[in-house]
Each structure stands twice: as C-alpha cells, then as structure tokens.
Amino acid sequence: MVSDRIFGLVVTLVALGYIASATQIQTSFLADPLGPKAFPYLVGGVGVLCGAVIVLRPDPDPAWPGLATIGALAVATLVLIAYAYTLVPLGFIIPTAVTAAILSYQISPRVVPSILTGIGLSVGLFIIFKFALGLSLVAFSDAIIGG
C-alpha cells in the first residue's frame, strides 16, 4: 500500500516535470500541424493519470529486502559504476576480475570460489571476445605495464 502510494506520487511528479520540460521544446518554422510538443504532452498526460490511479488504488506491498541487502545492492551498483569508469584506463583483465569476484561474492559469500570465479571469467571471456569473436579489447592498458 505505502510503496505504491509513494511510487504513484513520484510518478505523478516526474510526469508533471516531463510535461514542464516539454513546454521548453523549440519549434521550428517548418512545423507540421501537430508540432514536436504534442506527443510528449500526450505521454506525460497519460503518465500523470497512471500515477494518480496508482496512488488511489495501490497494490499490496512487495517484500522489500532488509537494510543489509539494500546495502549489498548499493555496493553492487557502485562497483559497476567504478567498473564503467576503469574499463578503459586499466584495460579489460583487472577491472573485470575484481568486479566479477565482488558480484560472485555477493551472490554466494565464499572468498576463494569468488576470487577464482573473477579470475576465470575475466581471462576466459577475454580469450573468447578477443580471439574467437575478434572484438578489439585491451588486456592491460599502457598505464599499468608502463609502456
């Protein structure tokens, strides 16, 4: 109940914000009868309606995970963001091994299998991608091997 009411409220506000930013769309002199604003208005309008219905007729609450699990999910998200930023500067192997090991540990918290999974996936996928599929990946960047 509560989840859906909050969710519906957020949806309504986002949809209103969407409509508000759609009013800022520039129109050109070549405009067709409908113009570039009408469709976003329509979508935003239906969105507001949906949000309102969800607030008024909420579903039962889902089973939200405990704080520890939410923390784990937040950590996973941060690790993935870090992975996105380090993939180019550090090359493929090291960031992939670290990220895969952390994710593996989060699904099944055992240290040694996780580390092995990380290294195995990283090297294995690199070989497949680089040599079987011919993608242009860099194993270690110049910054690491000092080249």
Binding site: D4, P36, C50, L135
Partner: protein, 501 residues
C-alpha cells in the same frame, strides 16, 4: 507457385555452410540460455545482440543466428522446469506443473524426450503457419496508413499491458516510460533537440539496446543478489533416457491442438508465448476433465504447454515481421535487432527484402530439426550445463552485458546509462511494473509519433481522421477490449500455483 519459389530462395540462403553453422551454433547457445534459470530468452537474446553486431555479420546471418537462439531458448526452457521445478523462462512455467511431478516419479527422461518432441511439433507447425500466413497478412498490411498504424501501435501496448500485467495503470505507465524515453533526442521533423537537457550524449537519443540490456540482464543480476542465489534448488537426477513411444503417440492429438492454440495466442500482438502455453495447458486440462489427472505428472500435461509455447514463439514472429509489432518480450528484442541492422519490418520487407524473410523461414525449418536432435539424444549435455551455479553464471552475464554495450559505442556514458536502467528495472520489478512495455515504447515511440504526426498532416489537424477507416475503428475497438477485458477475466485467467515440494 510463389511459395515454392520463395522457399527455394530461402533454402539456397539457409543451406550456405556459414549460415547453416550459425543456425546450429544459435540452437546450441539458445538451448543453454533457455535451460539456465535466470537467463530467459529475452535476457539471452538481449545480451547477444551487441555481440552479433560487433561481429559485423550481415543482416541475414545475424537474424538467422538470433532467431535460432530464440527457438533454442524455447526448447531449453523445459529442461529446468522438469528437473528443478524452476522454469528456465517464463513460458515454461506451465511445464513445471506436470513435468516436475513426472520427474519426481522417476520419469525425468520420459518427460524430457516427450517435451522435446512436443516442442518440435509445436515449433514446426508454427513455422509452417508463419510461412503460409505471413505473406497474406503482409498484403493486408499494405492497406495501413498512418491512422491505422497509430491504432495498431496502441493495440500492441493495450493487449501487452492488459494480458501480461495484473495492474492496468502500471502497464500503461510502463508504456509511457518507454514512449517518453523514445522522444529524447533530435526531432526528425524539426531537426531540433528535445528533452536532452543540453547533454550532447543524448542528442542521438537513448540506444534501445542499452535500455534492453539494463532492464533485463542487469536487473536480473540485482534480483539474484537480493535472493542470494536461493532460487537454485537441488533437482531431480536424470537416470536413463529412453523414447517413451506410448506416451508420445497417446498425446499426439494433444500436441496438435496445443500447437493450434499456441499459434493463435502467439499471433495476437502483445500476448506471446506465456499466454500460449497457459491456454494450451488449460484447454487440454478441461478436455481431459478430472480423470485426466493434470497436475499429478501426466504426459499430456507436459506435451500441451511445450507444444503451445513453441507454437506461440513461431506465431509471435508473424506480427513482428509483417506489421513491425512484436507479439512478446523476446520478439520485441528481435525487433530491436532488426532495427539495429537497418531492416524495417512490415509489409515492404516481404517485397523488397525477400531473401531476409525466406532465408529466415528456411533457417527456422532447419533449426527445428537440429533442435530436435540436440534436445532428444543430446539432452544430457544440457543437463550437465544446468549445474553451473548462479555465482558463476550471473557475474558472467553482467560482464558479457558490459562488453557488449561497450563494443557498440565505446562510451562509458552508455555503460552508466545501462546501470541506471538496471537499477530502474529492479525497482520496477519489485513494484510489479512490467518492463516489456518499456522496451516496446522505446522501440516503437518514434514510429508511433511519426504515424500520429503524418496522420495530422494528411488531415490538416482533424482528429477524427484517426477513426476514419473501418480498419482503424476495428483496431481501436480491439485495443480498448484488450485493455479493459482482462480486468474482468483476471479471476478466470488466474494461474495455477506451482507444485510445492
């Protein structure tokens, strides 16, 4: 004989050794994807598309590979349903009802072979149906103008949301999220940016592959982290595999009926394979009556949903190829593949690119026989693969997603966007907001808006033009019924509970 000429064109392409190899490879990968719990057909096809694209395959090869994966996944879904009581993908849910009890009774081998044969019958009949029906539907689709197309897109959203979700507002909202995202980027008509917030990365719009991989694959990994891999229960052992001739023969009519039901369900835009297997199972259950023993592990209860779901998978290709409107989540992903390859599905596809359509159909016919071979005599291999634990599989899925998206554009912005879609997908799934309409919205948004704007140009701004032809009125009515009717039918369509251990 148009059909024969077209088919021979198709087979001349499909029997090319390279294409044939791709089809076999796709079938194998697809069966694995279908069998592994947590990696359904939409996820699997979604993470493979960027890779197929990075390989620089030509349009026909890429399409053959991915549809082979799609068909393979539909076959593979039954393996974990039967052995683990966990559906490998959503449509295989119904197979757990009788498949798992059969496996517990020591007939796992029988159930696997029987369901493999049922999958074959369903998929083969549906491919033949596709071959016969699609060209004539394509001719009808030539009559569609912008007004009809707009109504057709609306119909897809209405039926998809109506049938797939338990809450109309939430499925309509999902469609709005998708359509709202599709608007972002430079407007085709005026050439001016819309809703980009001045961010240069967004001028080209948001790549639907980024959204698909994020909403499906990344969100799935988050779901697994939440459950700590608890969904991987220990299943039934597979002792010996023989061919249960008696069971196959006795469920012959069941397979044929279920294929028919499944195919029709597949054709309905938005309904898809889950509805196909559900309706096929329920039809057979009511034909068999109380004495049929459905739910206790009878062969017919395994044959019906498998024939139904594979027939629906073939049926779902009909609207996707002829109208450009996908009939299920996975065909939505296949539509994304077509768009990436610059192929516009629709009636013109059949006249302008016959080699694509008929090469695909011929490959599907071949793929069916390959899949039958893989899934009956070689089923043991896939049973071994099933034992890959979630803590290796899911990090692997995530890494493949990253490499795939990264190889598309080489920009970290797309990776961040993919993570954001993953988080969004997780929250929406917790709140039981369906994610397939979002994908459909992102894919079809531009076309839908163009159809609306073209209609208004033609009619000089007269709204009644949208309802001016019989076809358009028909589509609007079906859309309205498809959206409203499930609210009243929900009790009738309630899904049976899974068998508890």
């Amino acid at each position: 004989m148009d059909l024969l000429a077209n088919l021979s064109l198709g087979f001349s392409i499909a029997l090319n050794p390279f294409t044939l190899m791709l089809a076999v490879f796709g079938c194998f990968i697809g069966t694995i994807i279908g069998a592994l719990p947590g990696l359904g057909p939409s996820n699997g096809v979604a993470i493979l598309i960027p890779l197929a694209f990075a390989l620089n395959l030509d349009a026909v090869s890429a399409l053959v590979l991915m549809t082979a994966v799609y068909y393979g996944a539909m076959y593979g879904g039954r393996i974990s349903s039967i052995l683990l009581n966990i559906p490998g993908d959503e449509p295989a849910m119904m197979t757990t009802l009788d498949g798992y009890p059969m496996a517990k009774a020591g007939r796992a081998g029988d159930a696997l072979v029987l369901s493999g044969v049922a999958s074959f019958v369903g998929a083969l009949l549906a491919t033949i149906g596709l071959m016969l029906l699609a060209p004539s539907l394509a001719r009808v689709a030539f009559l569609f103008g912008p007004a009809e197309n707009f109504a057709l897109y609306l119909l897809a959203f209405a039926t998809l949301g109506g049938l797939a979700s338990n809450n109309q507002a939430k499925s309509a909202l999902a469609a709005c999220i998708g359509l709202g995202i599709a608007v972002v980027g430079v407007d085709n008509n005026s050439g001016l940016p819309r809703l980009t917030g001045g961010n240069l990365h967004l001028f080209d719009g948001i790549d639907f592959l980024v959204a698909i991989v994020g909403l499906f694959a990344v969100a799935e990994v988050f779901m697994f982290i939440e459950s700590q891999g608890k969904n991987t229960s220990i299943g039934v052992k597979l002792e010996r595999v023989t061919v249960p001739v008696k069971a196959i023969v006795s469920s012959g009519w069941t397979m044929l009926r279920a294929s028919g039901v499944g195919f029709v369900a597949g054709i309905l835009p938005g309904a898809g394979a889950s509805l196909g297997s559900f309706l096929a199972y329920m039809t057979e259950k009511s034909i068999a009556g109380d004495k049929g023993g459905f739910g206790t592990g009878v062969p017919k209860g395994v044959a019906a949903p498998e024939a139904g779901n594979n027939a629906a998978a073939g049926g779902a290709l009909v609207p996707m190829l002829t109208l450009g409107v996908p009939g299920s989540g996975t065909t939505a992903v296949l539509l994304a593949l077509l768009m990436t390859l610059n192929i516009t599905p629709g009636p013109t596809l059949f006249t302008e690119r016959p080699e694509v359509v008929w090469g695909l159909i011929a490959s599907l016919l071949i793929a069916n026989f390959v899949l039958l071979l893989m899934n009956v005599p070689m089923v043991r291999i896939f049973v071994y693969i099933l034992s890959v634990p979630a803590w290796i599989l899911l990090p692997g899925v995530m890494m493949i997603s990253f490499v795939g998206i990264f190889s598309l554009s080489g920009s970290y912005f797309d990776l961040l966007l993919m993570i954001a879609f993953g988080v969004l997908g997780y929250v929406l799934r917790k709140l039981s907001v369906p994610t397939v309409p979002i994908i459909l919205g992102i894919l079809l948004g531009k076309h839908m808006e163009d159809a609306l704007r073209d209609a208004m140009v033609l009619s000089q701004g007269d709204w009644t033009y949208l309802f001016s032809s019989p076809i358009a009125i028909g589509l609007w009515s079906v859309a309205a019924i498809g959206f409203v009717a499930p609210m009243f039918l929900r009790k009738v369509l309630a899904k049976p509970e899974r068998v508890a251990d």
